[in-house]
């Protein structure tokens, strides 16, 4: 019965699945790119994708657009599960009118984000778009604005992840920037506000797509990309891995797993990672790798501001966000980029109930006119603000140097950090010995017969007096000095103690972090 109706439905359905048609699909494949639906199938668990609004089309008639009507209108939306967890996903379809965004496309995406908000599930966006659909004029731009509005609505409520596997230019680029994490596929994903052609016309600057806004550029220089994937497979792996550390929404705790790694595991080799000579660098990641469950540390934003390390690890099954100075780069000093990187990471973790562990070894803020003129004062304050604002459990472990403003900024006690520990090798002071002595004893050194040996004597005295954690411990500003071998058990115990921490900020519309 009704066989004609059934046939009509089947026919329409099949056309919808073809996107822009076989030719365009082949062109996409020839460029080494998968289609929107293929990407969604790579991401989701087999057979769990339910598409929404596949039969949406645009309703434009200017510029002969009525001759170019395609189902889905350039975006494939829907929901499904990733490793058993429900998520919402939209993927721009480059085969349909170059993946350009139209009013209806934007409507689909905002509808999707709305669903995600109503059900409290993460949203993944796959970018592969030529930008606004010029033929639709302002309506297309309004579509983008709608999406940006919803990105903001969802920010801090549900995790938003963007995978950039193709171009996104002009206005399109701001949506990914507003999401929480951006993964770009090397040599395929590009993002820029103004393309190389216009750049050449206006400024005369010649630059390639890759150099202007490719994955490596954004991962290392601008910090827009948090991850660089070698190919689309790896991109999906990153999304899945990231999701495994995050809760579905901000009312939930991050997923806890059972681990075989003994929470009481000691590591007597940790102290050997720190070289005897304080001027020699070491890799902070070795320490993090040792203390996390199964030596698995998922680093985020690896290529940007390597002088600070941020990422996720598990401690006895609980997800923890780590922030740590890395003496391998710039001696672990804080600067503009690292302050931004860490501050954003802290605020994300705070939004999603992820406790924070901070490992400190920093000689201070980077000096110099470059930093000062570019606003190290403003950017540095972000880190302080972010720490103070975070109400998730916060633990700080001072491993080496912690001087001056950087000592304060890296989760010191009085920023209302919950637990502060220090290794015996910790050195908390206003300034390092050399610099301090030069200032405090300027007159004496000028008068001395043998200023070098006097200086050495004074430095030794200063070091003994101040450059150790015991002074801080005696004031309670460090809760305890711990045996480095016991770092893992001590941190886990602190986390367990802080499990049900409850802290609220005073009600206000929002603070005024120095952006």
């Amino acid at each position: 019965m009704h066989s004609e109706k059934i046939d009509e439905y089947t026919k329409k359905n099949n056309i919808a699945l073809q996107g822009g048609g076989q030719d365009r699909i082949k062109a996409q494949h020839d460029k080494g790119k998968l289609t929107a639906r293929e990407r969604i199938n790579l991401l989701l668990d087999e057979g769990t994708f339910t598409e929404m609004d596949p039969l949406v089309t645009h309703h434009y008639h200017e510029y002969d657009m009525q001759k170019k009507i395609f189902f889905t209108d350039g975006v494939v939306c829907g929901y499904g599960s990733v490793n058993g967890r429900q998520i919402f996903v939209f993927a721009y379809d480059f085969t349909v009118l170059g993946g350009t965004l139209s009013k209806m496309g934007a409507k689909k995406i905002t509808k999707l984000i709305d669903h995600a908000l109503r059900t409290g599930c993460p949203i993944i966006g796959i970018m592969d778009s030529g930008g606004a659909r010029i033929q639709e004029g302002i309506m297309s731009l309004d579509g983008f604005a709608d999406i940006f509005y919803y990105n903001q609505l969802a920010s801090g409520v549900i995790p938003q992840i963007t995978a950039s596997i193709g171009p996104s230019a002009g206005g399109a680029v701001y949506s990914p920037a507003m999401t929480d994490f951006v993964i770009m596929v090397d040599k395929i994903g590009t993002m820029f506000v103004t393309g190389p052609d216009v750049v050449k016309t206006v400024l005369g600057e010649e630059i390639s797509f890759e150099d202007l806004g490719g994955a490596i550029t954004h991962a290392t220089k601008s910090g827009v990309a948090h991850f660089v994937a070698k190919n689309e497979y790896e991109c999906m792996d990153y999304v899945k891995k990231l999701l495994s550390y995050l809760p579905q929404n901000n009312t939930e705790e991050p997923p806890k797993t059972k681990t075989d790694d003994d929470p009481n595991r000691l590591d007597h080799n940790l102290i050997n990672i720190i070289p005897e000579n304080p001027l020699q660098p070491y890799d902070m990641k070795e320490i993090i790798n040792s203390i996390v469950d199964n030596h698995e540390f998922f680093e985020v934003h690896e290529l940007f501001a390597p002088n600070i390390v941020v990422g996720y690890g598990r401690m006895n099954g609980r997800v923890v966000g780590f922030i740590a100075n890395n003496p391998m780069h710039l001696a672990g000093a804080l600067d503009i980029d690292s302050s931004n990187k860490a501050a954003r990471f802290i605020r994300f973790c705070d939004s999603f109930n992820i406790p924070l562990i901070t490992l400190v070894d920093t000689p201070g803020y980077m000096p110099g006119s470059n930093q000062e003129h570019n606003g190290i004062i403003r950017h540095g304050s972000k880190l302080l603000y972010a720490f103070c604002e975070a109400t998730v459990p916060r633990i700080t472990l001072v491993i080496g140097k912690a001087y001056g403003g950087a000592y304060i900024a890296m989760g010191s006690k009085n920023l209302r950090t919950d637990i502060n520990y220090a290794w015996p090798t910790a050195r908390c002071a206003v300034l390092g010995g050399e610099a301090a002595v030069k200032i405090m004893y300027r007159k004496e050194l000028a008068k001395a017969e043998d200023p070098e040996s006097l200086k050495k004597e004074l430095i030794d005295e200063f070091v003994e007096k101040f450059e150790n954690p015991y002074v801080a411990a005696s004031h309670g500003t460090v809760d305890n000095v711990i045996d480095p071998a016991e770092t893992r058990p001590m941190l886990i115990k602190a986390l367990e103690m802080l499990e049900n921490k409850r802290e609220k900020q005073l009600p206000r519309k929002h603070g005024n972090i120095n952006l």
Partner: protein, 170 residues
Amino acid sequence: MDYKILDIEKSFEGKIIENLGNNEYVIKINDNDHKLKILNMTSKGIEFILDQKYHRAKYLEQSTNEMNLVIDNVPITLNIHAHFDEIVYKNTGGGGTGDAQLALKSQIPGKVVSIAVTDGDSVKKGDIVCTLESMKMQVAIKAHKDGVIKSIKVKETATVAKGDVIAEIE
């Protein structure tokens, strides 16, 4: 879904045709139907009967295009979505999953006794990268593919755990 087992160079088409309920299914592998009954399943492993034969499988590391499992004690790696490989690897030039792997991981725990190469050295598959001491024996960790040492992740006297990255080889 299409699958490929690299070691034996065979490709397959496989999917679930019918869910008969009570943990029984009909699946299709290439052109043949098979009856499958799940006896026991967790995210880590499964016991099942396939056409009257009992099997047990352990699910190991998974990634988007690779499934690692141990079936009846035999380790097998399956490439999933293999028909996308040509497209996906077009821009990055990466070959099969084994070659594309950057990290040379240690299969055993031990202490680094000596490192035989430095960053930038060319190595061939099988060249000694470093030597570990484990259980009173010295074991050489060898390069898993031809290439250039991109970065050595360990140093002498460091302790490594099973699975730790020793070096990255491009």
